[in-house]
Subunit: 246 residues, 2 copies
């Protein structure tokens, strides 16, 4: 008997998202569960630290599962990657962990990154890896606007109508927005997020960056608790699950 923690990278395009679904086998969860079955002969429940939507990428998604028989974690990483090698999922790390570890319940902080390329021509090399915005963005104005999102608020204005969370109250611990080569990157850290919260916040920050609304409007939008007041849901392809703190 052993519990194993996986660190997983994936390119979200062509997957229906993290979560297993009865009518479509193309979820990241199900594909990895099949790899584990193929490698060990055991049908496991793979528990992710959080769901990601179709098209969302991950640099370090975390998940755990149990095996009836103890295995070498390092060999398991190689074995799983052998099963996964033709697709866009890779196991970056596999470690045996305490039986009490839980990838979702023990997460203290989750980190997401959103990547934008602001230029007129469409993307080629980074198609499916960033959101192309065909006008320039004022990063300083976006940083100002992001300040209103920090701390504990009712985030109903940035919540998808399908969101199953009981409460819309969340606490954003940190937002950083910076240029890196051709990219504008935006990091968001919180214990947890509402469904589409990061992408809705990004869509609204881009309205600020493009001069369509002012940084101070972010406060009004946040306090309205009205999804109709905020910006568009930014495309899934620009979003990266960055990692989890335990």
């Amino acid at each position: 008997m052993g519990r194993y923690k996986l660190t997983i990278e994936y390119k979200g395009r062509n997957f229906i998202g993290w979560q297993k679904q009865d009518d479509n086998p193309n979820s990241i969860q199900e594909i990895i569960e099949k790899a584990i079955l193929g490698l060990t002969g055991e049908a496991v429940d793979l528990v992710g630290s959080g769901r990601t939507d179709a098209g969302v990428n991950a640099l370090a998604q975390i998940a755990h599962f149990d095996l009836a028989t103890s295995k070498c974690a390092f060999k398991m990483r190689g074995g799983l990657n052998h099963h996964l090698r033709e697709g866009n999922i890779a196991i970056l790390d596999c470690a045996e962990v305490d039986a009490a570890f839980h990838s979702r319940f023990h997460a203290k902080m989750r980190h997401y990154q959103y990547q934008i390329i602001s230029r007129h021509p469409h993307l080629t090399l980074h198609r499916d890896l960033a959101w192309q915005i065909p006008y320039s963005l004022d990063i300083e104005e976006m940083v100002k606007a992001s300040g209103y999102l920090l701390g504990t608020h009712n985030f109903s204005s940035f919540r998808d109508s399908q969101c199953q969370s009981k409460s819309a109250i969340k606490t954003i611990e940190k937002i950083t927005i910076f240029k890196e080569g051709e990219f504008i990157k935006m990091n968001f850290s919180a214990k947890s997020f509402l469904h589409h919260q990061v992408r809705n916040m990004v869509g609204t920050l881009v309205l600020v960056g493009g001069g369509k609304i002012k940084p101070e409007d972010m406060k009004t939008i946040l306090e309205s608790h009205d999804r109709q007041k905020s910006g568009p849901n930014a495309p899934a392809s620009g979003l990266y699950f960055l990692g989890v703190d335990y």
Copy 2:
């Protein structure tokens, strides 16, 4: 009558390379020529600064063509990108240039970059965008080895058997090798290169980085003028045409 210079980005995967071929319409040159025809009604010869092989990427390939009637270069960029938007080719810039400008003959220096990710798991996000090496590389040793390649030499040891160049004598002006996040990047600058020269040099530098040969062996390999002595031809997916100086 006007001559136009294009700056072109492409992801090489799925193309047969830059050069037009009678038996396959899927060259970058032919696809852009068709976009120009679609936009302007004129069948042109698009002259690239150099050929790139199937799978090789470009951040800034340069090409020129002539139109019988003068057009607004800025509008032409947008129009060409409209034609090209579903594929992995984008026109980053279009400028009207002097009728004497020649993208190939006037090139003073060409710059290539090779991108490596050294890690055991296969690539997902950067599949087709880098060469994955499943062991660690000693960059300092690679820098030492690269020193032997600088200057004017007979590069027969790094020349593809299909190479049509009359002489194997080339002058490498600059090589820089550096870490950038998960990537090891290697920049090469020369007025011109032999066919597969950069990829063969990279394949040999990786032998050095992996400890299979010593930096000093690069000198022996170079002086042998024997392609059998050098390393493997590094995959096309890691190579980027970076730009041209005129």
